[in-house]
Symmetry: C2
Subunit: 187 residues, 2 copies
Amino acid sequence: MSTPERLIESTRELLWERGYVGTSPKAVLERAGAGQGSMYHHFKGKPDLALAAIRRTAEEMRTTAEGVLGGPGTPYERIEAYLLRERDVLRGCPVGRLTMDPEVVADDALRAPVDETLGWLRARLAGIVEEGKERGEFAPSVNGEEIAAAVVATVQGGYVLARASGSPAAFDAGVRGLLALLAPRDR
Amino acid sequence: MSTPERLIESTRELLWERGYVGTSPKAVLERAGAGQGSMYHHFKGKPDLALAAIRRTAEEMRTTAEGVLGGPGTPYERIEAYLLRERDVLRGCPVGRLTMDPEVVADDALRAPVDETLGWLRARLAGIVEEGKERGEFAPSVNGEEIAAAVVATVQGGYVLARASGSPAAFDAGVRGLLALLAPRDR
């Protein structure tokens, strides 16, 4: 791996393990096995390096979600597959978690990829709910954007419950509760 | 306010603004206008002080939630009131947010009040859902614990969506989506 690659990957790991506030440039350099000079040669500083790391993590999250949401099945089945896909629940979401980092939220540039990714996910799910309404799978009265927000919130909040209790069971319970409410009536 | 009181209140503020990892004993002392000696006279150190602060915040959250959940109305109406109660959405939940703090989650003593409070909330909501099933407000097939987990997850994840987008609208959308799915069928 090239030095900028090692710096980005080390930053991604540390952001997930320690958060932005808890990630020092020194820790990144140590993990990447790089010198301060080479970091400043490739990146303007911690925010610039973090932005590259967050963008890459966001892109991966989008690709993973699209793999399930764009897969086979009815709209309900694709939402179900998204909610039930295997996750490292106790580690939480590497993108959503950044919203609890005060310095990320205060910095428009760092917040942008987080906002874009969650916004894309909500819009993608809203479209699938609308498709389900057209097919008669969901009631005509449901609002695609609201259901989409509830789906993404259940996942993001499920991580909170799991991490609080130290067990993935709370995540699973929330997802099953939402799916039971969302299930087509004629099942 | 007494010195220990000022120390606890300053720690609560800083935990909310900066998180546990981002809260230094020095910042607490500065905000409390207290000296290092007086902190160590009253508390064993940062974890001990943080524990007192987290316990107090958790107790307040519980009292606020019980004020709505134990209020008037049918089970659905009480859950609705809980979800719609006025919140400082962009600040997030001072308790739930701690689950994204790696040092809090890694420390069983600090995690305990977070786990207990969210566990209490889930159990309280599960009881209300069961009450609603008995009254015929909710379908007999719904599982109280799962619906309760979905309700708490939607709130906690709603904060994530709101903070990502910089607007409370995303929180509101998720809550409305869940309420639409949960609403008694004969409405």
